[in-house]
Symmetry: C2
Subunit: 411 residues, 2 copies
């Protein structure tokens, strides 16, 4: 017996028929003795339609009013779900963010949750009633409706789970869980039964868009076990928790990748303080996100610097960097539009040396040229030509034995 | 300079383009020095669509949840309108019923407004901002969203106007105002410049569905001048206020009619106490509304009773009355499905005698048989065969000179 918060995304609640399936699932948990709280996103594409309506009223709609408008999408979903649950004989009540007391900052469109009142929720739960809470929204101190950013229903669910001390927060979605890599690219990809929060954050940040990173960070901070599972098929999905990988845990858990990168390299920069800043500051001023940055050791009084930007920013970033490099005697700028990033992630990655060696060897065997390499605590990322992305992911998935259960792997 | 509450119905806010017209109209008032509050219904047919969604989830949806669902329709409308106003450079803020403090009873679907907080509204108005308030909804003491019944946005507007002490409450709709009778039936029908609350209540109750009766009663009680006008065309519409008809005021202001009536007559009922009750009680128990009731003086120890019901209740009402009449020695039941009611209404109708005489003479001239006649303080209603309805309305409109301006009329 425990308290479980279940969150369903937009495609999972696109119709009354789908909602009925989820209602029965929640009722089964309840019959098994669990207490259940539901958090829903807006039905299907209704958020897109509300956004279109706002944009037809103004290309740049007032943020407070846009929040008030968008919040109605989730309100529709929760009242319909409560109607369905009650028809099936299960006590249920729908709540807006304001009604349940999801308090946020006064930052329309991307407000952070500052607190959650648990009085109403606890009263319902204790009475055997299923509260159905609108995700993605809250209320600020002045009583304005706020939204916590697109896809923020994951964060709502984690915040409720944390406030209630729930035993598990289940994110029910259109995938079975988190895989060793994207199964559409590598058919041998395997569903991961367990990940640490750290691994999930690295995998999500590197392009595995299963969960909102903010939600994972929130769950990590408040130690809420998260489970990603399918809302359509049976299965226990992927549990993401604090629990460290055990002794037999694999060095590498999964491989993430990101196609939409572009590389900018500046060579022969005079080795003087502030040169990197001169190159990167204009990008920051233009709000262009810079992802990987590699700066090698100086040679003959000169350094080279490489970094990546989102492909859509490639052209503008190139212009800004060329302008900045003009004053640097001898410096040359080179851009490469079509590159991709591959990251191997694993909480068990105690030393980068052996992982790095396996990685370099596998890529070399395939003749894949490595443009940039950088590391973080539990991750090694490499940049390759986009045309070699699939080959790279497949050979690394193979090299780290990710198609096999951890216990069956060598080394 | 004054404070004006403007209410727009669903068909008037069916598109962003229409909303922009209304926004400009409100801004013009503001530029003329007026203070403006807007109250909106849901856009176009969105309430119908939300109702359909609820019914697809359950044929008999939970009332609390249905209210929460339906209330989103108006919330969408007000935030879109606020977005439009702000784009046009006018400060504006949207509010749900709960946000603005429209407090109601805990009766889902037909809650009565128990009070309105004016703090937020007054702050906005004083700051030159136009508050845009969701009609049709409120909040009960437990924080549940309630609705005040279909078409209840009129009532919301009047309640806000009353609480704020507004100078006028304007109901902007798809008609130019209140006419002497339905212009589709009588092309000579004339727009009425002024009516008393009493006249409007009698006209509305008799089938002129321009305003919700509850809203008119509310306005009457709190002495809020109401103006019905077109949201599409210019013109000052019809002002409905306390002001009594002046000396030159016409005896008859307008003619209302209602097609959907059916008549039930019971003849030769023994003249004993409680007989009428025995006949009518079963209808009341079956929640069948009885409209006109005529009971004549006894003759030879027997009375006749006639009354009307809505045509859709005709069959069931007939069965109930027949069953009740069985025990009454000699009583006979006769029903007539296709009858219609015509009512002449006028606050100046000091004595019914002269109006009655004119009415009877006009109908007799046309050979229209009068089935029932009944009177109220400022109204005389007659029941005629449905096929003669149009002739009846036309000849009465003519007989009371309603096609002419009051001052030009004879007598």
């Amino acid at each position: 017996m425990g308290l479980i918060v279940q969150k369903y995304g937009g495609s999972s609640v696109a119709s009354v028929a789908l909602m009925e399936n989820h209602a029965r699932r929640a009722m089964e948990l309840r019959e098994q003795g669990h207490q259940v709280v539901l958090v829903l996103s807006a039905m299907g594409d209704s958020t897109d339609r509300l956004n279109d309506l706002a944009n037809s009223a103004c290309p740049d709609p007032d943020p407070r009013e846009l929040d008030a408008l968008l919040a109605t999408g989730e309100q529709v979903a929760v009242s319909v779900m409560a109607i369905v649950l009650r028809r099936l004989g299960c006590p249920a009540r729908s709540y807006t963010g304001a009604q349940i007391g999801i308090r946020t900052e006064s930052v329309p469109g991307k407000a952070c949750i500052t607190g959650v009142d648990t009085e109403v929720l606890s009263r319902d739960i204790d009475a055997g009633c299923i509260p159905v809470v609108a995700g993605f929204q809250g209320v600020d101190e002045q009583g304005n409706t706020t939204t916590i950013g697109r896809g923020g229903s994951d964060t709502t669910a984690v915040a409720l789970a944390a406030s209630l001390g729930a035993d598990e927060c289940q994110i029910l979605t259109d995938v079975d869980g988190v895989y060793t890599t994207d199964p559409r690219m590598v058919p041998q990809a395997r569903l991961l039964k367990h990940l640490t929060f750290e691994e999930m954050i690295e995998l999500a940040g590197q392009g595995s868009r299963v969960l909102q990173n903010r939600a994972v960070e929130f769950a990590s901070k408040y130690k809420v076990p998260l489970r990603v599972m399918s809302s359509f098929r049976p299965g226990s999905g992927t549990l993401i928790s604090l629990q460290e990988a055990d002794v037999e845990a694999p060095v590498v858990s999964g491989i993430a990748f990101n196609r939409d990168e572009a590389e900018i390299t500046v060579t022969s920069i005079p080795d003087q303080p502030g040169m990197a800043l001169q190159l990167l500051k204009p990008l920051s001023d233009a709000r262009i996100d810079v992802d990987m940055i590699v700066l090698n050791a100086p040679r003959d009084g000169h350094v080279d610097i490489s970094f990546t930007v989102h492909r859509q920013d490639h052209e503008r970033a190139g212009e800004l960097v060329r302008a900045a490099a003009k004053g640097m005697d001898g410096a040359a700028v080179r851009t490469e539009e079509r590159v991709a990033k591959i990251s191997v992630v694993g909480a068990g990655m105690r030393s980068h040396a052996s992982v790095g060696a396996t990685l370099l060897e596998a890529l070399a065997e395939q003749g894949i040229n490595l443009r940039i390499l950088s590391t973080s605590e539990i991750r090694i990322s490499v940049l390759v030509d986009e045309v070699r992305l699939e080959d790279g992911v497949r050979c690394l998935h193979d090299a780290f034995g990710l198609d096999q259960e951890p216990a069956a792997r060598q080394g």
